[in-house]
């Protein structure tokens, strides 16, 4: 299993010691617009700058071309997970996706809301189902003690803790959920992020409801629906490996079903 790492900037990230200067040319940007299921594309000519993210592009359009453009963002530094959109057909965190990395030879940009989630308006997707599935997957931590109890002593080198460390940096951006074909095919499928969360919980020594969490991820639409395509791994901006966590859930679920595991 891959180890979780801190957010990595794009490899083509420009030299920040240079001033962020306009390049003197313009980029043609197609933006998906509409409320709910309606969809139309509008083109904007956006000034190119040397140091420019996709979120910068969207923000420029909203502030200079069309104030009615709806989109979602908060931190702008890859922590909050709220600015994910579909950029040239792939789900990405727009605040840390540099334009130079994604425009290609055609020098064009098409920006759409995240796939697999209903659109609210323009680039803002309704994340309700995504977060509800975290709950359906038993993603709520249940402690074995209260705040007056002693601190749990966890060996950082234990296999369980290493498994938790590998999956715990998820920023809930829904990029994996958008990239997953099984989510598209099966509306009941919990999705990579929720299952990855469950995997970190069932490996957490402090979690008091491991059996309940395993029961929820082993039901219809749970871990056994995953086809191991690996799209979640391919697109996760943090570099997590939900497919490996889901494989761990499958293994544990089968062992528990046939009572081959001593885990509780």
């Amino acid at each position: 299993m891959e180890t979780g790492t801190a957010p990595q900037p794009d490899s083509t990230e420009p030299d920040r010691t240079k001033p962020d200067v306009p390049l003197g040319d313009y980029l043609t940007v197609r933006v998906s617009r509409g409320k709910g299921p309606e969809n139309r594309y509008e083109e904007f000519q956006v000034p190119r700058r040397e140091n420019q993210t996709v979120l910068d592009i969207v923000t420029w359009i909203q502030r200079n071309a069309d104030p009615a453009l709806s989109y979602r963002f908060a931190c702008r530094v890859g922590v909050c997970g709220s600015c994910a959109m579909t950029v040239n057909g792939k789900p990405r965190w727009t605040c840390r996706t540099h334009v130079s990395k994604v425009i290609g030879k055609e020098r064009s940009l098409t920006i759409e809301p995240l796939r697999n989630l209903p659109r609210i308006k323009d680039l803002a997707a309704d994340m309700s189902a995504f977060f509800e599935k975290w709950q359906q997957a038993g993603g709520r931590f249940a402690g074995k003690t209260d705040r007056t109890g002693p601190l749990a002593r966890i060996d950082p080198e234990s296999p369980g803790r290493k498994a938790v460390d590998a999956g715990i940096e998820c920023i809930n951006c829904a990029v994996c959920y958008s990239a997953c074909d099984v989510v598209t095919w099966d509306e009941d499928y919990l999705g990579p992020a929720a299952l990855n969360r469950a995997w970190t919980l069932v490996n957490d020594e402090r979690h008091a409801e491991k059996r309940e969490t395993m029961k929820k991820v082993s039901a219809a639409g749970g871990c056994h629906s995953c086809h191991s395509h690996g799209s979640c791994v391919e697109h996760c901006p943090i570099g997590l490996n939900p497919t490996a966590g889901i494989a761990g859930l499958k293994r544990r679920s089968v062992l528990q079903t046939f009572r081959l595991s001593g885990e509780k």
Partner: protein, 108 residues
Amino acid sequence: MTEAALYAAQRVTAMILAPLVLIHLGLILYAVSDGLTADEILSRTRGNMAWAAFYGLFVLSAAVHAPLGLRNILREWLGLRGRMVDCVLVLFAALLAGLGLRAVLAVI
């Protein structure tokens, strides 16, 4: 049965079927010399209990494996799910097992 048990059943039968299919293909190449007919094959396999046991395991594994795969396809591609679909697939499994075991009985 739970989803985990069904998942395990499909994987275990896939592991069983993988070598059996290769041997099955090899047998076809060996047994067929003048067209693919039941008489042609049975003339070389009848009375051999090892082949009967081989194909008995083959048929039972296929009867479990195929309906489970079909269940996933119906669920993901056509959105069909629920107890009615599962009941139809149990009948499909019984049909596969019945037809296959009938052929195995002819070997004995």
